[in-house]
């Protein structure tokens, strides 16, 4: 039996087998178990015996074979499941193989067609060429033959003329001889004497007359060497390909560029033979006028392949490229010019401007490129408990600006990086920043700080020194700076959730701690207006006084133990801002206000001293009851 048929036959069995499995799965009778066992046996037989008989498919009877049938008297019953899965695996494998082979066959067919086509074309080409050569040769022959004929005719004519002249000379001498003989035979002496002298004279004359008996034309034909070099070239060119046509340069492929290199691809016409290509490129500088004398320098690379990696380029820059192909015969015209773009430089994450809370992080960065990029991609992966980067990665794509708010899971640690993207592809990733979603994290907005405030290097402690400031410092006309209240804002993430932070203060420090909207009046005191809410500590000669100020009003309230670590809990959803004595877990006050605008933490000092902000603290349970 033909091998192909065998294969085909087996495949049919498999296919139908599969169908029957479906069917039997639908029936959920008790007999199903036995039926499947039987099928298991028969299937096993089909695959275990490699004979033609095993390929004969016996359709299932309408009635299910009895579980105690002779066929399944073997212990194969126990292998039912195993066998079935084996069958499925084998079937799948075979199906895969068949698909592969079909693929291969169609591939071969394609190649066959191509070869045939090429051969035909080549044949035609050769025939054409030979015809050309033959035509040239016969033309040459005709020319040559005509020339020789002409020459022959000339020569014949000349010889004939000479022959005639010879004849005439002979006639003349014959006549002279006859005259002389006549004179000689004359009896009349007088006549003899009379005639002898002129005859002698004529004979003498005749004798002096030279008869040219040399051939006036050469017997040789003047046959110049035939110049067959052109024919030779033609003959040679049967084996020599014509100069290539202009290659076709491909548009830029995704992910084929780096910051300083481009991978360029092009293609040639299949008939062309090319020895090497020359790729030309030059940067497209938008700000350079077209007629500028300092037009960008064109660079050239010579390669044998139809692709080339161009290196040492500028990042995030557009390049114009074109290519020529060369073989022994000559250089092709240049391809069309195409534009490629190098990928941007990686962005630079602004660590001090990143802020986070349990549900999200706000990442800010600098572009890292002088010219604009298309977008940015923010990539994040969760950090495992062991500090290793877990495989789970997400990315936020097409971020148009240099900041991105990312939703995160609470109580995790994330590694976040940014890439800049242009049509050339994404840049390398920026430095990685670690974001912890335990508690809320923010830095101080140092540009809001009153000139009297100084901020520690880590950014979390603010000092109000008691030395006088020069007036020049006070006159700082930066409208973002607090000018009256010695205060600074914190950069809280704009997420309407719950935020908690703590502030460490000194018992003897007069402070204002709370929140204020971003545009809170810089020339007013915190708590004195309707855009700020704060806890204020005042030292009076007799006691410590605490106020919870908003819009200039505070409830009258006494606190017996002075807090030195104040917890601040902001809950946008419930519209509350609560203050706690962290050491005692004591609730001090809650403002009820539906903060319509986002607010920032604010920290003020009313007398020289210091306070320290503690961040990234999980909000204690009591803070949001």
């Amino acid at each position: 039996m033909d091998l192909y048929e065998i294969r085909g036959g087996r495949l049919d069995v498999i296919a139908e087998e599969a169908e029957h499995q479906e069917l039997s799965r639908e029936s959920t009778t008790m007999a199903d178990g036995g039926a499947r066992a039987t099928r298991g046996v028969s299937t096993f037989q089909r695959f275990s015996v490699d004979t033609n008989e095993s390929l004969i498919f016996e359709p299932w009877g309408d009635s299910l074979p009895s579980p105690t049938g002779a066929q399944d008297g073997h212990d194969d019953v126990f292998k039912e499941g195993e066998t079935e899965s084996e069958i499925v695996t084998t079937r799948n494998r075979l199906q895969g193989k068949v698909a592969e082979m079909e693929n291969f066959a169609s591939h071969l067919e394609e190649i066959f067609l191509t070869v045939e086509e090429n051969f035909g074309r080549q044949e035609q080409h050769l025939e054409q060429h030979y015809n050309d050569v033959l035509q040239t040769l016969s033309q040459r022959y005709d020319d040559r033959a005509a020339g020789l004929e002409e020459e022959k005719k000339g020569k014949m004519e000349a010889l004939y003329k000479q022959l005639l002249a010879c004849g005439q000379a002979m006639d003349a001498s014959k006549e002279l001889i006859e005259t002389a003989q006549e004179v000689y035979r004359s009896q009349d002496k007088r006549l003899l004497l009379k005639a002898v002298m002129p005859t002698i004279k004529r004979i003498e004359e005749f004798a002096t007359e030279q008869v040219d008996l040399t051939l006036s034309t050469s017997l040789e034909f003047d046959t110049p060497l035939a110049d067959l070099s052109d024919v030779k070239t033609m003959m040679d060119s049967i084996n020599v390909v014509p100069a290539p046509s202009a290659p076709v340069i491909n548009p830029q492929m995704p992910n084929s560029a780096t910051q300083t290199s481009l991978r360029v691809c092009w293609s040639l016409f299949s008939d062309d033979t090319v020895e090497y290509y020359e790729l030309y490129y030059r940067p497209v500088l938008e700000d350079t006028p077209a007629d500028s004398t300092c037009a960008p320098h064109v660079s050239k690379v010579k390669v044998k392949e139809t692709h080339c990696a161009v290196t040492d380029l500028l990042p995030n820059a557009q390049y114009e490229l074109w290519v020529t192909a060369t073989n022994t015969t000559g250089i092709s015209p240049a391809s069309e010019k195409t534009l490629y773009m190098t990928v941007p430089s990686p962005p630079v994450i602004k660590q001090r401007e990143c802020t986070s809370c349990p549900e999200a992080a706000l990442i800010r960065w600098e572009s890292g490129n002088t010219n604009p990029v298309d977008s940015y991609t923010v990539e994040l992966s969760e950090m495992g408990t062991d500090g290793a980067e877990s495989g789970i990665a997400e990315s936020v794509v097409a971020v148009p600006t240099c900041q991105c708010l990312i939703q995160l899971q609470t109580g995790r640690r994330y590694l976040i990086s940014v890439r800049a993207v242009n049509i050339g592809g994404p840049s390398d990733r920026s430095d990685v920043i670690t974001v912890s979603t335990t508690g809320t994290f923010f830095y101080l907005l140092e540009d809001t700080a009153h000139p009297c405030l100084s901020i520690s290097e880590d950014g979390f402690t603010v000092f109000y020194g008691d030395e006088e400031l020069p007036i020049s410092a006070m006159a700082l006309d930066d409208n973002n700076t607090f000018t009256r209240c010695v205060a600074v804002l914190g950069d809280l993430i704009p997420v309407r959730g719950r935020h908690y932070w703590e502030v460490e203060v000194d018992d003897g420090t007069e402070f204002r701690i709370g929140v204020a909207s971003e545009d809170t009046e810089r020339n007013s005191y915190l708590g004195a207006n309707n855009t700020s809410w704060c806890m204020r500590h005042i030292l009076t000669p007799s006691r410590h006084k605490y106020e919870f100020l908003h819009n200039g009003w505070s409830p009258d309230l006494r606190i017996t133990v002075n807090p030195v670590r104040v917890g601040v809990a902001l809950d946008y959803e419930r519209g509350t801002l609560s203050f706690f004595n962290v050491d005692l877990e004591q609730h001090l006050h809650t403002f009820q206000c539906h903060f319509r605008n986002y607010v920032h933490p604010c920290f003020g000092l009313d007398n020289p001293g210091a306070l320290t902000v503690h961040n990234r603290i999980e909000a204690p349970e009591y803070s949001f009851i």
Binding site: R543, P555, D556, L557, R558, I559, T560, V561, N581, L584, E585, Q586, H587, L588, H589, E621, Y622, I625
Partner: protein
């Protein structure tokens, strides 16, 4: 330990009930109110004891203070006992509104004729909790105490005299220093006799100055327009001064415009229940 249900009304998803029982401490029938939040149907809940002020019964608080909504929200059982023994037929018990019936002052009387029945301190700190824990789905380890005026004084002294027993304490316009005010002097001399040194055992300010025990966190609300504040019956400044000195955490809020009434209590009930919930549900 038998209790008899007097009334039961569905309230705020749970039930506001009143019970009656024979008190062994007070040797009379006593009523008390219990609010059972919805959570009590399935779980054990913490208990906040509420001590009412002069002239009140168990009814005033449950009908006027608006405590049931926040109690239901935080899953807290509120027990509000009466303010004194009743019907003991003691001579003169009904003569004054600020002494005798309705004015037990949460002390254990040592003087005749009061000492047999007027044992409100023992009643609210011992007998009543046992009774409650035996009859209701409570978490016996989680109890707190609050009160108003005389009950505020009661709550403070219960907490200060039993360090650790109450997880939280708060008070509305409490009598902070009964030794120094007319009400206190009248009641204490009646119940405890003329020896002022015995009074100190029931004076919040005195007790605070000698307190040692687990950290307390006391929330006190006081109406600024409370006529008894200006009559120097309440004297919160004395307590605050001692607590400041002894570093006992107190947040004292002087609420402008409020008087001594249940309208005042009602206005800040939420804050107080939340304050208790913070410790009871911790």
């Amino acid at each position: 330990m038998a209790v008899t249900q007097v009334s039961s009304n569905k309230c705020s998803g749970g039930f506001q009930k009143v019970f009656e029982h024979d008190s062994t401490e007070l040797k009379c029938k006593m009523k008390f109110a219990v609010y059972l939040p919805p959570k009590a149907e399935t779980d054990k809940c913490p208990v906040m004891y509420w001590l009412s002020g002069l002239t009140c019964t168990e009814q005033n608080f449950i009908t006027k203070a608006g405590s049931q909504v926040p109690a239901a929200e935080h899953g807290i059982i509120i027990v509000a006992p009466d303010t004194s023994p009743r019907g003991c037929n003691i001579e003169g018990e009904d003569e004054n509104w600020d002494f005798g019936t309705g004015a037990g002052f949460y002390v254990d009387a040592t003087q005749d004729p009061w000492k047999t029945n007027y044992r409100m301190y023992a009643y609210v700190t011992e007998e009543l909790p046992k009774l409650i824990n035996a009859n209701f789905p409570t978490d016996p380890d989680k109890m707190s105490i609050s009160g108003h005026s005389m009950g505020g004084h009661g709550a403070l002294i219960c907490a200060l005299k039993n360090p650790g027993k109450y997880k939280a304490v708060s008070a509305f316009a409490p009598i902070c220093n009964p030794l120094q005010c007319p009400w206190g002097q009248k009641a204490f001399s009646g119940y405890l006799g003329s020896d002022r040194s015995t009074w100190e055992a029931y004076d919040a300010t005195a007790l605070a100055s000698s307190y040692s025990g687990p950290q307390l966190d006391i929330l006190i609300d006081q109406g600024r327009d409370d006529q008894f504040l200006s009559a120097s019956q309440l004297l919160p400044d004395n307590l605050i001064a001692v607590c400041s000195e002894k570093k006992i955490p107190v947040v004292f809020r002087l609420q402008p415009g409020y008087d001594h009434s249940f309208f005042f209590i009602y206005s800040f009930m939420n804050d107080h229940i939340k304050h208790h919930a913070k410790f009871l549900n911790a």
